[in-house]
């Protein structure tokens, strides 16, 4: 039986500090989570942002195809959303 995991996403750029909690089944592909996060931050697709850990490690494209459970094991549950367009 698979477990439900709540991932937490934040952005460093915004009108206010916001944490987006995202409950997901551990068997779910992480890319599905990121696609939903894109919608929540009004970005068109996963290529317009990168996901990183608070400690600085940026997830590679290949990481996105891992399951939520594998991502939790490797990177934890806290993530930063880096919207590429905000970097100028």
């Amino acid at each position: 039986m698979s477990e439900n995991i709540t991932l937490r996403f934040t952005t460093r750029v915004g009108i206010k500090k916001e944490v987006i909690p995202f409950p997901a089944d551990e068997s779910l592909p992480f890319i599905d989570v990121v696609q939903e996060i894109c919608k929540k931050v009004n970005e068109k697709n996963v290529n317009s942002l990168n996901i990183a850990t608070p400690a600085g490690n940026v997830l590679m494209k290949s990481d996105l195809f891992k399951s939520v459970g594998e991502i939790k094991e490797e990177f934890g549950i806290d993530f930063e959303i880096i919207i590429i367009g905000t970097v100028g």
Binding site: V13, N50, A55, G56, N57, M60, E80, I83, I84, G85
Partner: protein
């Protein structure tokens, strides 16, 4: 290059910055021309160590190295090191952080080695260089005598655009998180993709 996307927005402090508090008020006036500058450099290094301690506590692979260059006439106005892709440490680049004499009232500037132009050129000011001189005969950029490289400035506009992204109570470690890391995190997958293409192409 200032994106409208940042209009009305502010820098929001993340988990990492909770481990590196801002400088106390009395240090805001201590810049490179101040008699206590060397003491400030020591505090800057202490804060960088605190950040590294945090990264280690999270079992995070290191993504940068930085230390003050003590060779210029004013020590610690140039900091040198490198940044790397933790998952692919062979992808690494030299970096130079340059402090204005008005630091910390004004933010530092970050320069990366020019081969990054081919990997992240749309987020780089290619004509803003370290060293800043050009050979008057050839027009070529003068190379840094220590490394033999020319460095280009990474885009800093979000630091100026976002409310609170730079304030005089911040230091080099905060600049590293808010500018260098944020820029590198945004560009990292593109850099890896293009780097791999270059390597494949050269085979």
């Amino acid at each position: 290059m200032v994106p409208d996307i940042n209009k009305g927005k502010a820098w929001q402090i993340g988990i990492a910055e909770l481990h590196v508090p801002p400088f106390a008020l009395q240090w805001e006036a201590i810049g490179p021309k101040h008699p206590l500058w060397i003491e400030r450099i020591k505090l800057e290094i202490t804060l960088i160590h605190k950040y590294i301690d945090y990264l280690c506590s999270e079992k995070s692979k290191p993504w940068f190295y930085i230390k003050p260059d003590t060779s210029p006439s004013i020590k610690g106005i140039v900091w040198r090191g490198n940044i790397l892709v933790p998952a692919k440490p062979e992808i690494n680049f030299d970096i130079v952080i340059v402090l204005n004499l008005d630091y910390p009232k004004v933010a530092p500037r970050a320069f990366v080695e020019e081969r990054l132009i081919g990997l992240a050129g749309q987020k780089i000011y290619v004509k803003n260089r370290f060293p800043s001189e050009q050979d008057p005969r050839t027009g070529e950029w003068v190379k840094d005598p220590q490394t033999g490289k020319s460095y280009v400035m990474i885009c800093h506009d979000h630091i100026a655009e976002l409310e609170g992204a730079w304030t005089p109570n911040l230091g080099i470690v905060h600049f590293f998180i808010r500018e260098v890391w944020y820029w590198f995190a945004a560009m990292q997958n593109q850099i890896v993709d293009l780097y791999n293409q270059q390597v494949d192409f050269s085979k």
